[in-house]
């Protein structure tokens, strides 16, 4: 199932949290060779993890971490402006209706539809909180995965080449994309919405009017 947890709620799910930070170390340091810091417990954490971000975590049936991503609002400190601002055409991404997603991570043993399930959570977040876009930082390998999942970003800018290429992109909210991602992930929208409501309460369920 999908869990939506703020950093200050992770202590209630120690196994899941530990798995997430270790799998991040495995993915970003070991497999991708990114210049990230791994602590003595084998966990990859950075300063954005200290800002009480919202994590979306795919929990495998045995309670372990299957995959995850990290969400922060672009009105506060975020990587897309602080670290990769030079890739967005000189205009910082800063809007109450755009949230940033980073550290999209999959465990080595993740079940096949994990990436799609996590992507679907992005759609639920946009729908549930009236966002217009999600902004993200991703490596070249992810572009193919996003296409397979059924939701490709608009790439704003990239640096580096080949495997080392890093890009900043935007996903506009689209009900169609949400449904397509859900279908490919094999998760009924009703179930996905139920997980969302479980986290944020029964009232966070309506799509805001699109008049704004």
């Amino acid at each position: 199932m999908l869990r939506y947890l703020y950093a200050d709620e992770l202590h209630k799910f120690p196994k899941l949290a530990e798995g997430m930070f270790r799998d991040r170390a495995d993915q970003f340091k070991t497999r991708l060779g990114w210049d990230v810091h791994v602590n003595e417990k084998g966990e990859e954490r950075d300063q954005y993890d200290d800002l009480n971000p919202l994590y979306v975590i795919w929990e495998e049936p045995d309670g372990s971490h299957g995959g995850s991503m990290r969400i922060l609002p672009t009105t506060g400190p975020v990587m897309v402006t602080d670290v990769f601002g030079h890739l967005t055409g000189g205009q910082p991404i800063r809007s109450p209706l755009i949230w940033e997603v980073t550290r999209f991570c999959l465990s080595r043993g993740a079940s096949p539809h994990t990436a799609g399930a996590i992507m679907l959570s992005g759609g639920e977040v946009m729908e549930g909180f009236g966002l217009t876009h999600i902004a993200g930082v991703f490596d070249a390998r992810m572009i193919r995965i996003y296409r397979l999942i059924g939701s490709s970003p608009i790439v704003l800018g990239s640096e580096g080449t080949g495997r080392d290429q890093i890009s900043v992109g935007l996903w506009p909210y689209s009900a169609e994309d949400c449904n397509r991602v859900a279908e490919r992930a094999g998760i009924p929208r009703e179930l996905s919405r139920l997980w969302f409501r479980t986290a944020f309460g029964p009232t966070a369920r309506h799509r805001f009017a699109l008049s704004a």
Partner: protein, 239 residues
């Protein structure tokens, strides 16, 4: 409750404010336009210091401050460190203290329905924008469904103005760079080596290091590349 209202007009009114009192007047106008009971903009800083404007009755505001209610208010506790909008029904009102607080609030004219938008501003700033009313759950749901997104935008406009009025209240507001620091960072951003930058500015590499280090520290950056990225994204340098 609710009516078709012109968002751009509200944002324009907000843009034209230059004092907290004027912000308060916009809040009153907006409340009347939306035909709801109350609007609150509330900026709480780390020291528990409070700033903002509200249409709540003065008696309730005074009582809230006198009792230090911000320490137990489920709305503050439930929204602090969060960034998604919260319907008051999703908060935990079950405790004895929370129940007593709610009873007191209702007795002072606070409505039974609320919707609060946490705002995460620069440098860890935290504020809340709340709409409040007395009505049924269904009517409230419909109201939030219709105006949720506009309210988020309005909330951030209130906060932007508050930040503008109260620059000194901002935690560690980012300092601007000196002309020499700007020159050094600009040339580095253009891809010049340190030696080339020092030569262009007719200074020693040692002096250049000082400028780079002070720029890095002011920007709160981890290294030179990070500092350049931050300076660019904040519009402090242009290349």
């Amino acid at each position: 409750m609710g009516t078709k209202f012109d968002l751009s007009r509200v944002l324009e009114d907000l843009e034209n404010t230059s004092t907290l009192d004027e912000l308060g007047a916009v809040a009153v106008g907006l409340r009347d336009k939306l035909k709801i009971d109350h609007i609150v903009y509330h900026w709480v800083d780390g020291g528990g210091d409070q700033y903002g404007c509200t249409t709540y009755p003065d008696a309730w505001v005074a009582r809230y401050q006198e009792r230090n209610y911000h320490r137990i208010d489920p709305v503050i506790l439930g929204c602090f460190q969060r960034f998604q909008p919260v319907d008051w029904k999703a908060l935990d009102w079950s405790g004895k203290v929370a129940k007593a607080f709610l009873k007191d609030a209702l007795a002072h004219g606070v409505g039974n329905q609320g919707y609060s938008i946490p705002i995460r501003g620069p440098n860890g700033q935290f504020a809340l924008f709340t709409v409040n009313h007395s009505c049924t759950d269904d009517a409230w749901q419909a109201f939030i469904g219709a105006y949720g997104r506009e309210l988020i935008l309005i909330a951030h406009y209130f906060n932007r103005k508050a930040l503008e009025f109260e620059r000194s209240r901002q935690p560690d507001s980012p300092r601007s760079l000196s002309p020499r620091e700007i020159d050094a960072m600009t040339l580095l951003a253009l891809g010049y080596s340190r030696a080339q930058v020092a030569h262009s500015l007719s200074i020693s590499e040692h002096t250049l290091r000082v400028y780079i280090e002070s720029a890095r520290a002011k920007l709160g950056a981890l290294n030179t590349t990070h500092a350049i990225a931050k300076a660019l994204s904040r519009g402090l340098i242009v290349v």
